[in-house]
Symmetry: C2
C-alpha cells in the first residue's frame, strides 16, 4: 500500500474545519478534491469528471449501495471509512459477485476538522486496496452545523458475476446446511461498549473485514452455494428469518455450535443484548448442499477470515417459514426477527 | 406511469413518523421495504437481496454518485426525490453514457413523517420512469433527531457507453464552440427565493430535468462532441473555469448571448447573486467543433429540453487557462471560479 502523509494535506493554518463552501462547487471544494481525494484515491481523470468510464471484464454485474452513519466515527478495530468499504464489498460478495469498483459520497457537517476527514479518507483507501477494489468516483456535500453528525458516507459498488450459480434466498431448500465463517458479535459489541463507556479487561475490537476473497475461493472451487448472507443489522436471527420467509423453509440452528467469544458473551450480558441479534461486518452464513460440507469448511478454515468456520444448522422443511434453535439444555425455541431497535447506528 | 396511492401505504395510525428502528434491520425496516419501497421501485428480487444482479447490453460503462441534501425538501418545480434522480442521470449523460440503473441510499432523521418519505419515493420513481432508468437497489439508515435534516438521498448510477467518442474536459481545443441548451438560473433561484420568503408576481419554478435523452440524440446523430458538462454547483462560471484549467485553454463567452429570463435576472439582483454562478440542474454546455454547430443546434431546438439552445462562446487559445466574458457594453472581463459559498444546499 502506498504511504500517505499522516498530516492533513490542506494546511491547518488555512482552513482547519469543514465550511459550507467546501460543498459549494467553488475554490474550496476543488481544493478538497485536488489535495485530499485525488492524491489518495488515484486516477484523476476518473474522479475529476462527472462520472468514471470503465471497461468491465464481462457484462453480468451486481450493483449495491449502503450509507454509513456509525457513531462514533472511530472505534477499536476500525472506523467509518473502512466500514463503508467493507460493507459494500460484502454486499456484492453475497450475490457471488467479485467486487471491482466503488463510489464514495460524503455528507460532511460544517465544523468537522479536516484532519478527521483525512484520517477517514486514508482508511477507506487502505481498506479498498487490501480488498483489491478501486474507489473511482465521488461527491462531497456539506450541511450546516447541527444538521448532520460529522461524517456520513455512502458507498455504491459494482462487481462482476463470473459464475453461473443462482445465489439468493429463494434458492434455499430442505437439506441445505448453514456454515458461518467465525464467531458472532465482536463488531456490534465493540461499538456499544465504547458508546456506553464500558471497560473490560481486554478491549473488544471490531472484526469488520471484507470477505469477498473468501467467497471467491468457495466459488472458484465449484462449491454449490444456494444463498450467502452477511450478518449485519439485526444479526444472525433477523437474517435467518428473512431467508426463511423468502424461501418458505424451516431453519434449525444449534446454540452450542454457534461460536461466540467469552468476552463478547459477557459484554452482551452486561449490556442486555442477545448476541444472535448483534450486528457484524464480515461474518456471513452460506447455505450449501450437505455433500459440499467438508470441502467448504476446509477452504474456509484455510482463509484468515474463516479460521473458526463451522456448521451451525440446517434447513429441515419446506412450506412454513420458521427459525428454531436447539438450546444448550436441549429445548427448542422459536427465534423471531428483531422487533425493536437494538443497536442504533451500528453501521 | 403506474399510479400509486397518494396515501402512505403504512397506516398513519401505526407509526406516523420515522423511528430509529426503521433503520435497525428488524421488523419496522422490513415493513418500510415491503410496503413502501418494493411496490414503487419494482423488482422485488433485485431490491430485497443485498445487491441487484444485472446483465448489461455491453461492458463499457460509466459510474457516478451524488448525495442530495437540498433544503427545503419540496420546492416549486420539484423536490429532493426528482432532483436526486435527475442529477445522477445527468452526470452519466455528461460522459456520453446512456443511463440505465440507479441505486438509492436514504439517510432519514428520526421523527420524519412517513408521509413525507412516501411523497419523495413516488417522485423518485416518476422521475426515473420518465427518464427510462430503473432504481434497482437501495438502503435506509436512520439517525437520531437533530443529527440529520429530514431526508438526505444518495443516488449512484451506471450507464452504458455506446459510442467511441472521447468526451472529457481535456479534449477541449481552440476553435470549439460552446452551446447551451437553455436559460440559466431557474433552479437555484427557485430554491433561494423560497428560502428567503421572497414573492414575485409569478413563482419562479425549478427547471430541474433529466437531459440524457437530448444528449443521446446528439450522439446518435454523430455530432462530434469534445466535452459535456452540466452547470450545477458553482454555475456556468465555475464549470467553465474547471474546463479551462483541465484543457489549458482560454474560453470566451458573450454576455449578450447567454439566455437568462427577466424574472430570474430580477430575483438575482434582489438576492445579490450573479446568475453566472447560480446552480442549475438540467442545463449543460457542449463543446463542439464549429462545423457541427447548425446540426447540433437544430437537434437541440427540436427537443423539449433544448428549445432555447444557443451558442454562447468559443475556445480561443491553448496554453493559458482563462475564462473571459465580452460584456453588453463591449468590455472584456475575467470570469473567476466561485470563491465562497453562494448557495448552500442547492442540490
Amino acid at each position: 500500500m502506498e504511504e500517505f502523509s499522516l498530516t492533513c494535506p490542506i494546511p491547518i493554518s488555512e482552513y482547519p474545519h469543514v465550511l459550507l463552501a467546501h460543498g459549494g462547487g467553488g475554490k474550496l471544494m476543488h481544493q478538497l478534491i485536488d489535495k485530499m481525494f485525488l492524491p489518495v484515491f488515484g486516477d484523476p481523470n476518473a474522479i475529476a469528471h462527472d462520472s468514471a468510464a470503465l471497461t468491465l471484464p464481462g457484462n453480468r454485474i451486481a450493483m449495491t449501495t449502503d450509507s454509513y452513519v456509525i457513531r462514533p466515527l472511530f472505534f477499536p478495530g476500525g472506523d467509518i471509512g473502512s466500514l463503508a468499504v467493507h460493507g459494500t464489498i460484502n454486499d456484492l460478495a453475497m450475490s457471488g459477485a467479485r467486487p471491482l469498483y466503488l463510489s464514495a459520497g460524503f455528507i460532511l457537517e460544517e465544523g468537522l476538522p479536516l484532519e478527521t476527514l483525512w484520517r477517514v479518507v486514508r482508511s477507506m483507501q487502505a481498506a479498498a486496496e487490501n480488498a483489491g477494489v478501486q474507489i473511482i468516483t465521488g461527491d462531497t456535500k456539506v450541511v450546516d452545523r447541527g444538521k448532520g453528525d460529522g461524517i456520513f458516507i455512502n458507498t455504491a459498488g459494482v462487481g462482476i458475476l463470473e459464475h453461473s450459480q443462482a445465489i439468493a434466498p429463494q434458492f434455499v431448500q430442505p437439506g441445505d446446511l448453514l456454515l458461518i465463517n467465525g464467531d458472532l458479535g465482536r463488531h456490534g459489541i465493540a461499538i456499544m461498549a465504547m458508546r456506553e463507556g464500558l471497560e473490560f479487561e481486554t478491549t473488544i475490537e471490531s472484526d469488520s473485514a471484507a470477505i469477498a476473497d473468501l467467497v471467491m475461493q468457495l466459488l472458484d472451487a465449484d462449491i454449490e452455494i444456494h444463498c450467502l448472507r452477511d450478518l449485519t443489522r439485526g444479526g444472525l436471527a433477523s437474517t435467518l428469518n428473512e431467508i426463511a420467509t423468502a424461501a418458505k423453509v424451516t431453519i434449525e440452528i444449534d446454540e452450542t455450535a454457534i461460536p461466540i467469544r467469552e468476552d463478547v458473551q459477557g459484554a452482551c450480558e452486561i449490556l442486555g443484548f442477545d448476541p444472535l441479534y448483534v450486528a457484524n461486518e464480515g461474518r456471513f452464513v452460506a447455505f450449501i448442499p450437505s455433500e459440499y460440507r467438508d470441502r467448504a469448511l476446509q477452504i474456509m478454515a484455510q482463509h484468515p477470515l474463516g479460521a473458526d468456520a463451522c456448521l451451525i444448522g440446517q434447513v429441515t422443511d419446506k412450506g412454513r417459514p420458521l427459525v428454531t434453535m436447539q438450546s444448550k439444555i436441549g429445548a427448542s425455541r422459536i427465534i423471531d426477527m428483531l422487533s425493536g431497535e437494538q443497536l442504533p447506528r451500528i453501521c
